[in-house]
């Protein structure tokens, strides 16, 4: 397994609290063990308090510029929330981009208050499909809830990413990273989430 482009530009995005930074680290560490140079630039503003967050990953055998991805230059977008997929497509999308989205909305405050409307599932799904060369969607939040913890929907998405075979990482690699990163009890839940995500797209 190798990467399709070198450097490979990837965006991992979501809403503050969904854990995009955690999965970008897990992925980064797994790739480093495969001797890839990985750099991750996080943009999170007031993330903890409901803002949009994203990590720009650059994966390469040779170059390790530690900076943002140029406008319209992402190869892969992994998104924990559908509106955020669209936001990142606006910034980094192009006709060749591949997207993988957890299609469970997290409503912005204006939607919660009734002052704005969240786009309909069909409309948003259609836009993301049209703007991606290929798009995968799954209800990672639903899968995580079945496992009893909405918090692991990020790791469900990581499992799904492994299943797409877009990156040179296998389930075993991510298994190892999870075991290294969590205390045993939490590792167990996250391993289940990883596998559930993998099976959802396998």
């Amino acid at each position: 397994m190798t990467i399709a482009k070198d450097p490979l530009y990837m965006v991992i995005c979501g809403v503050g609290g969904q854990g995009n930074i955690l999965i970008s680290r897990l992925l980064g560490r797994a790739l480093l063990k495969k001797h890839y140079s990985v750099t991750i630039v996080d943009t999170f503003g007031v993330a903890q308090r409901g803002g949009a967050v994203n990590s720009n990953l650059r994966i390469s055998k040779t170059k390790s510029y530690e900076t943002l991805i140029s406008h319209g230059c992402a190869h892969i977008i992994l998104s924990l929330e559908p509106l955020e997929t669209l936001r990142m497509l606006t910034e980094y999308g192009n006709p060749e981009v591949l997207t993988l989205t957890n299609f469970r909305p997290v409503f912005p405050l204006e939607v919660l208050s009734g002052d704005a409307d969240y786009p309909s599932y069909d409309k948003l799904r259609q836009a993301i499909t049209e703007l991606s060369k290929r798009c995968w969607v799954l209800d990672a939040t639903g899968i995580a809830l079945k496992l009893g913890a909405v918090i692991v929907s990020n790791v469900v998405m990581l499992g799904a990413l492994v299943a797409t075979k877009l990156l040179p990482v296998a389930m075993q690699d991510m298994d190892n990273e999870i075991k290294d990163s969590f205390p045993p009890k939490r590792a167990e839940l996250n391993l289940k989430a990883l596998e559930a995500g993998f099976n959802a797209l396998k």
Partner: protein, 639 residues
């Protein structure tokens, strides 16, 4: 074993910029580290606190940046390596000391001192995007700026060596895009320093009259440092011998330059002179490369610090004057404020070289623009569900409304600043730097004599109280200012990531610490003090109204309630089960809870036309029960 303290010399690890700086501090054998939290600097001290005990070093969260640099300097005076960290705004607080102790000869006894300042181009997390590099120029101290995570670690070591060689503290400037980027770092050896502090036997000062003798020395020292910087490994050039355009850059300018060069495929015509030693500037090195080209762009964050100097150099040189054109922020090729991005740099390079800037494929660009126009919704930050500040500001708002007379809040720096965004209540009329809430209040509290009758309430958080509000309160007491101050005491430094402070009962490394009680402290000064729980909304409103009507002396109300994020982590359960009685909810006609109270745990359902609880994020604080006009929100204690 924690990552930061593993020896593993020679192996590669993925590290956050701030972790790499912390690792550099450990690899340098520093024994004393202090700082005040401030994004984007906080994780440096934060990660050192995790390993302080096993590494046998001292790490503290100081009450403010000035005390942090003073405390660190003390260690250096005794021959121990020390570090103080802060964000850009903190440099202002510390600079009274930093401007003074530049001539003291610190570091000469092997106790080098490094001051880490983290800038915030674009002001992502700050009140402004102040450029800390100017301190180096005004204080005449050496300045290093790293361009990568690896270099951040290595450069800390270099900074200590410079400090000790030239007997002066070394300024090290980080920035948001370094602090919060993650990259591959090759670990170095981890010493376990056991150095013993030495006695202080000589006068350490540069106070008058000593300063007059020291100033010549200081300028000579800068000349010597410049000489050393001419051959520093932190400066290098990559590119053709005679580039069509020379890029001179530091910090984030460097990765942005390389990304833009790749994007525009200009590897053969552009050269990059990257400077890591930024002050004093290695003049001869820069001149040498300037002679190789006819045009230069300077890429740096945020001010045209190098750019102005490069222009000066060109103007001063017979060989270069009139022959080299200098572009950058001053020429308008880079916006006059804001961070550098690959896009901004690509556009600037295209413009100078008169090349077409490659834009996104037209049809795609149109489609994506249409979709985002139709569907994208901004995500504005807000107080978390269950945040005590929402309840506190609600009470203040209601008290001001009930007393009439256009009362307002003088706000301060912390999560409570979010009153000014659209998810807040917008009762703030003045908001500036740390501690300014009470300071400005002192002044307004004197203006009754000139006819100022508007009620006002100064607020500050608990950490801000210790950081810089205390002198202002003493001023208010001494000068008999009539004012109300509300301390929003959530028992942690929440905004920057839950650091402890003197009111929390524990210290940076988790040991029990004496509690400095804010209420008793204020009482001892002669303030009228009351303590309330902001979740008890009615009682809180009543007390604030009482204080407004009192109109004499310094009235301090402490609104005490733990940060909800901290409480939830500790207790892992909701105190109340909350639900909406759909029969009582007035829905569309009311929406008071979602549009006026604005807690994200409440959602208006457009189909049922009723409000619902967002179970995933509702923390069960129960405050909404008390503000719902038709009493439709219900609560029940959880088991």
């Amino acid at each position: 074993m924690s990552k930061l303290s593993e020896d593993a010399s020679g192996s590669y690890r993925l590290m956050l910029g701030n972790e790499a700086i912390a690792r550099g501090i450990l690899e340098s054998g520093a024994q004393f580290c202090s700082g005040y939290p401030g994004t984007p600097s906080s994780e440096i001290i934060g990660s050192l606190t995790q390993v302080a005990k096993e590494m046998g070093i001292y790490v503290e969260w100081s009450i403010n940046e000035k005390v942090a640099v003073e405390a660190a300097a003390a260690a250096s005076f005794t021959g121990l390596r020390s570090v103080a960290t802060m964000k850009n705004a903190g440099v202002n607080v510390a600079s009274d000391f930093l401007q003074h102790f530049n001539l003291s000869g610190v570091g000469g006894n092997g106790g080098g001192m490094v001051v880490v300042a983290a800038d915030d181009p674009n002001a992502w997390y700050s009140g402004d995007e102040e450029d800390s590099r100017w301190l180096a120029r005004s204080a005449g101290v050496p300045l290093l700026v790293p361009d990568s995570v690896q270099e951040a670690k290595d450069m800390i070591k270099g900074a200590f060596e410079i400090s000790e060689t030239f007997k002066v503290y070394c300024l090290f400037c980080s920035y948001t895009r370094l602090a919060h980027r993650t990259g591959v770092v090759k670990l170095g050896k981890l010493p376990h320093p056991k150095k013993v502090a030495s006695n202080i036997t000589e006068l350490i000062t540069n106070e008058y009259p000593w300063i007059l003798e020291r100033l010549d020395e200081a300028f000579e020292r800068l000349d010597k440092i410049q000489e050393a910087f001419e051959s520093s490994p932190f400066n290098w050039y990559k590119g053709p011998d005679n580039p069509e355009l020379m890029i001179i850059c530091c910090g984030n300018g460097s990765p942005c330059a390389f990304e833009a060069i790749d994007f525009l495929k200009l590897q053969d015509s552009l050269g990059v002179l990257k400077l890591g030693t930024v002050w004093p500037i290695p003049r001869r090195l820069v001149e040498k490369y300037l002679a190789r080209t006819k045009q230069v762009i300077v890429l740096e964050e945020t001010d045209p610090f190098l750019e102005s100097y490069v222009k000066e150099l060109v103007a001063d040189s017979d060989a270069l004057a009139g022959k080299v054109k200098v572009y950058g922020r001053n020429s308008g090729h880079i916006k006059r404020w804001g961070e550098l991005t690959p896009d901004a740099v690509s556009k600037a390079l295209s413009k100078i070289l008169k090349k077409e800037y490659p834009t996104r494929e037209r049809v795609y660009a149109q489609k994506v623009e249409n979709a985002s126009k139709q569907m994208l919704i901004e995500r504005v930050g807000a107080w978390c569900p269950g945040c005590p500040h929402r309840a506190s500001f609600w009470a203040i708002k209601e008290a001001l409304r009930k007393t009439g007379r256009n009362g307002f809040v003088i706000n301060d720096i912390g999560c409570y600043s979010m009153d000014i965004v659209k998810t807040g209540y917008n009762i703030t009329k003045i908001l500036h730097s740390m501690g300014a809430g009470v300071g400005v209040g002192c002044g307004l509290g004197q203006l009754d004599r000139f006819g100022f009758k508007q009620p006002f309430i100064s607020v500050c958080g608990d950490s801000t109280f210790f950081h810089s509000s205390i002198p202002a309160i003493i001023n208010a007491i001494y000068n008999k200012s009539n004012m109300i101050m509300i301390v929003l005491d959530n028992a942690i430094t929440a905004m920057t990531g839950f650091q402890p402070h003197p009111g929390t009962g524990f210290n940076a490394v988790g040991d029990a610490a004496p509690i400095v009680d804010i209420a008793n402290f204020c009482r001892s000064l002669g303030c009228k003090v009351a303590v309330r729980d902001p979740f008890n909304i009615k009682d809180t409103i009543k007390k604030i109204i009482e204080f407004i009507k009192d109109e004499t002396g310094v009235r301090v109300l402490i609104l005490r309630r733990s940060c909800e994020l901290v409480r939830m982590r500790r207790e892992r359960k909701k105190p109340y089960k909350i639900w909406v009685d759909a029969g009582k909810c007035k829905g569309e006609k009311c929406r008071y809870c979602t549009s006026t109270f604005k807690c994200p745990g409440l959602a208006f359902n457009k189909e049922t036309k009723k409000v619902e609880i967002v179970e995933e994020i509702c923390t069960g604080c129960g405050v909404c029960v008390d503000i719902c006009p038709p009493k439709a929100i219900m609560k029940e204690e959880t088991a």
